[in-house]
C-alpha cells in the first residue's frame, strides 16, 4: 500500500531536469569568466575614448572615466588630418556595395550550382570551392597590375567590382540554402513559361530571403574590417574607409590615444550593434557552412 502511495506521488509530481543547482552555477561562472576576458579589451577601448592620455595611463587603473571627456568626440569629427565622418561614409558605401554585389552575383551562381542541371556542374563547383584554398596574396599582384593598366587604381572599382563576379565562400554558403528550395517550384515556373532568370528572381530568391540577408551581413562585416585591399589600391585619405583611415591616423599621431580610441570605438560600434540585432542570423549562417 505504501509502495502504491509512493508510486502515485511520483505520478503527480512534476519531473525536473536532473542537473543539480551547483552544476548550473559552475557552468555560468565559467562562461561569465570567459565572457569577461573577451569583453575586457573592448571595455578598455570604450573607457579610454572618454579619457585624456594621462588618465589612460594612470596608475592605479581608472576603471571608469572621471570626468567623462565628451570633447574627445567633438575633436574626432572636426579634425582635418582625420576626416572621420567622410571615411565613415566611405566605409558604409564600400561595405554596402560589396554586400549588394555579393548578394546579386553569388545568388546567381548558387542558383546555377544548386538548382540547374548542366554538364560538369559538380566539377566547376569543386573548382570554385578550391578557390577558397588559394591565399589572396598569390593572386594579388597580377590582379593589381590589371587594375593599374585599366587606370582604375585609386578608385573603389578594384575593391568592389570583383565581387560582381562572385565569391567562393558566399557561393558555397548560398548553395546550401538553394538546395533546400523544392525543385517542383522551379518546374512549375518553367511550365508557367518563366525564363531561368525570372525563376531565380521571382520564385527562388523570395524563398531564400533570410539566407540572402545572412550573406549580406557577412559581407558587410568582412568589408567593414577589410584593410589590405584599400591599403593597396587607395592613396587619397579622403577616399579611405575607416579601417585604413584609423590605421594611418594612428601611424601619424601615435601619441593621441584618446582620439584613436574614440575612432576605434565608433569604427567597432556599428558592427557590434549590427551583430546584436542579427546574431540569430549569424548563427544560422555559420551552421549552414559547417563552421559551427
Amino acid at each position: 500500500m505504501g509502495l502504491l502511495r509512493r508510486g502515485q506521488s511520483l505520478i503527480d509530481q512534476r519531473r525536473t531536469a536532473p542537473r543539480q543547482w551547483w552544476q548550473s552555477l559552475l557552468y555560468h561562472a565559467v562562461m561569465l569568466g570567459f565572457a569577461c576576458i573577451f569583453l575586457l579589451p573592448f571595455y578598455w577601448m570604450a573607457i579610454s575614448a572618454f579619457k585624456n592620455n594621462a588618465e589612460i595611463f594612470a596608475n592605479p587603473v581608472q576603471w571608469f572615466p572621471n570626468p567623462f571627456r565628451w570633447e574627445n568626440l567633438a575633436a574626432l569629427v572636426s579634425r582635418d588630418d582625420f576626416p572621420f565622418l567622410r571615411q565613415f561614409g566611405n566605409s558604409v558605401f564600400y561595405a554596402g556595395s560589396v554586400a549588394l554585389a555579393v548578394c546579386f552575383s553569388c545568388s546567381l551562381a548558387a542558383y546555377s550550382f544548386g538548382c540547374l542541371r548542366w554538364r560538369a556542374r559538380n566539377l566547376v563547383f569543386g573548382l570554385t570551392v578550391c578557390a577558397l584554398l588559394l591565399p589572396s596574396v598569390v593572386t594579388f599582384l597580377p590582379i593589381y597590375m590589371g587594375w593599374t593598366r585599366l587606370g582604375l587604381n585609386g578608385t573603389y572599382w578594384p575593391l568592389i567590382a570583383p565581387f560582381l563576379l562572385g565569391d567562393a565562400f558566399y557561393i558555397f554558403m548560398l548553395r546550401q540554402f538553394f538546395l533546400g528550395v523544392p525543385r517542383e517550384l522551379m518546374d512549375a515556373a518553367r511550365l508557367d513559361g518563366a525564363s531561368e532568370f525570372r525563376i531565380w528572381w521571382q520564385i527562388v530568391l523570395p524563398q531564400v530571403r533570410t539566407p540572402l540577408v545572412i550573406v549580406g551581413l557577412f559581407a558587410i562585416v568582412y568589408t567593414w574590417n577589410e584593410f589590405f585591399g584599400p591599403l593597396i589600391y587607395l592613396q587619397d585619405r579622403e577616399k579611405f574607409p575607416l579601417s585604413l583611415g584609423l590605421f594611418t591616423f594612428r601611424a601619424a599621431r601615435a601619441q593621441e590615444w584618446s582620439i584613436s580610441m574614440m575612432g576605434a570605438l565608433f569604427t567597432a560600434l556599428p558592427m557590434v550593434v549590427l551583430f546584436l540585432l542579427t546574431q540569430r542570423l549569424f548563427q544560422r549562417g555559420l551552421s549552414s557552412t559547417g563552421l559551427k
Binding site: E184, D187, A188, A189, L191, D192, G193, I203, Q207
Partner: protein
C-alpha cells in the same frame, strides 16, 4: 485538347537506362493512369512528356506536333505536383495568374480566367490567401486550378493525392473524375495507388523497371493480366501465384498435391505453369469438398471482410479474402476450396497462357 504519342522513348541517367523504349498513344480526351512500383520510371516518363526531363531517344508528340525539343511552356501541358508546388510567397490568385501573365494575356482576361477557374473549383474565397494559410486539400485544389486556368492540351498529374489523408483523397479523386468529365481533357495521371488507378482510368499503363508491362482498361488489366508482374501487382491483396503442373488427366496439380479441374485444350502434359488466383476466389471448404488444407499464419479481421494468410503444407503462401468476420485464429487448420473462374495460367516465361473468364 490533344492526343499524346510516345515513340521509342528512352531515358538514361548516366549509364543507367531508366526508360527503356516506350511506345504509347494517349487518345484525345482520354484519362490514362501510369501505375507501377516505386522507381519504375512512371514519374520520369511524365516529366519527359512535360519537357522537364530531356528525351535521349525517341519522339514525343502532342496534338500531332513533335514537341521533343520544345520548352515545357510551349508544349501546351500543365502539371499538378505531388507537393502542390504552389509559390509560397504569392496568393492563390497570383499562383493561378502567374502562368497566364507569362503568356502575355491582358489584365482583364487574366482576371476573367482566374475567376472562371476559381468558380469551377469552388475556391473563390481562397484567392486572397497564401498557401500556408490553406489546408492540404485546399492547396491541391488551387494547384489543380493553376493547371486548369492555362487551358492546356494535356493535364499531367504526378501523384497529386499522395499527401492527402484518406477521406480527402477520396473527395479529390471524385473531383478529378468530375473535372475530366466536364473538361473532356486529355489527362495522364501517375500513381502507385491501385484504387486511384482502377477508379479514374480509361486505360491503365502498368510500368515496371522502365518498361510497359501492359496497357488496357482497368477491367482488362485486372481480369486478364498479361504477365506475372501485372498479376502480382494489380489488386490488393495481390493474386495468389501457385506453381502447378499439367497432370496426365489434364488436371492442374499444385505443389501441395491438390488436383484442380481445368478446361481441356492448349496445355501439354507435364508442362510447368503458374496458376494465378484472386484471393476472393478462395473459400472455406467443407469436408470432402475442400481442395486443400492450409494453416493460418495471419488473420486480418477488417470488420466487413477477413483476410487470411495460409500456408499449404511446405508449399507457397496463400491469401484468402472472405466476406464478413470469420472467427479464425492463427494456427488453425482450415479447408480451402478453389474457384477457378477468373484464374489465369502463366508459362515458364511469365507470360499469360490461358485465362478463364469470371
Amino acid at each position: 485538347m490533344g492526343a499524346v504519342q510516345l515513340t521509342g522513348v528512352r531515358k538514361l541517367f548516366g549509364a543507367m537506362e531508366v526508360i527503356k523504349g516506350i511506345d504509347l498513344t494517349v487518345q484525345d480526351g482520354e484519362l490514362v493512369v501510369f501505375v507501377g512500383p516505386s522507381g519504375c520510371g512512371k514519374s520520369t516518363l511524365l516529366r519527359m512528356i512535360a519537357g522537364l526531363e530531356d528525351v535521349d531517344y525517341g519522339v514525343v508528340s502532342i496534338a500531332g506536333v513533335d514537341v521533343t525539343e520544345l520548352a515545357p511552356a510551349r508544349r501546351g501541358v500543365a502539371m499538378v505536383f505531388q507537393n502542390y508546388a504552389l509559390y509560397p510567397h504569392m496568393s492563390a490568385y497570383d499562383n493561378l495568374a502567374y502562368g497566364l501573365r507569362r503568356t502575355g494575356l491582358g489584365r482583364a482576361e487574366v482576371e476573367a480566367r482566374v475567376q472562371e477557374t476559381a468558380a469551377l473549383l469552388q475556391i473563390t474565397e481562397l484567392l486572397p490567401r497564401r498557401p500556408k494559410a490553406m489546408s492540404g486539400g485546399q492547396r491541391q485544389r488551387v494547384a489543380i486550378g493553376r493547371a486548369i486556368a492555362r487551358k492546356p492540351e494535356v493535364f499531367l498529374f504526378d501523384e497529386p493525392l499522395s499527401n492527402l489523408d484518406a477521406a480527402l483523397r477520396v473527395e479529390m479523386r471524385s473531383q478529378i473524375a468530375r473535372l475530366h468529365h466536364e473538361l473532356k481533357a486529355t489527362m495522364i495521371f501517375v500513381t502507385h495507388d491501385q484504387v486511384e488507378a482502377m477508379t479514374l482510368a480509361d486505360r491503365i499503363v502498368v510500368l515496371n523497371a522502365g518498361r510497359v508491362e501492359q496497357i488496357g482498361t482497368p477491367r482488362e488489366v485486372y481480369h486478364s493480366p498479361a504477365n506475372l508482374f501485372v498479376a502480382g501487382f494489380i489488386g490488393s491483396p495481390a493474386m495468389n501465384l501457385l506453381p502447378a503442373r499439367v497432370g496426365a488427366d489434364g488436371r492442374l496439380i499444385l505443389a501441395s498435391g491438390a488436383a484442380l479441374d481445368w478446361p481441356p485444350g492448349g496445355l501439354a502434359e507435364g508442362q510447368n505453369l503458374t496458376l494465378a488466383l484472386r484471393p476472393d476466389r478462395l473459400a472455406l471448404g467443407s469436408g470432402d469438398q475442400a481442395d486443400a488444407t492450409g494453416k493460418v499464419t495471419l488473420a486480418e479481421h477488417l470488420g466487413d471482410e477477413t483476410i487470411l494468410h495460409l500456408r499449404l503444407g511446405d508449399g507457397p503462401g496463400l491469401t484468402m479474402k472472405l466476406p464478413g468476420d470469420v472467427p479464425v485464429r492463427v494456427g488453425d487448420a482450415v479447408p480451402v476450396s478453389f474457384d477457378l473462374s477468373g484464374a489465369c495460367l502463366f508459362g515458364a516465361d511469365g507470360l499469360a497462357v490461358r485465362t478463364r473468364q469470371p
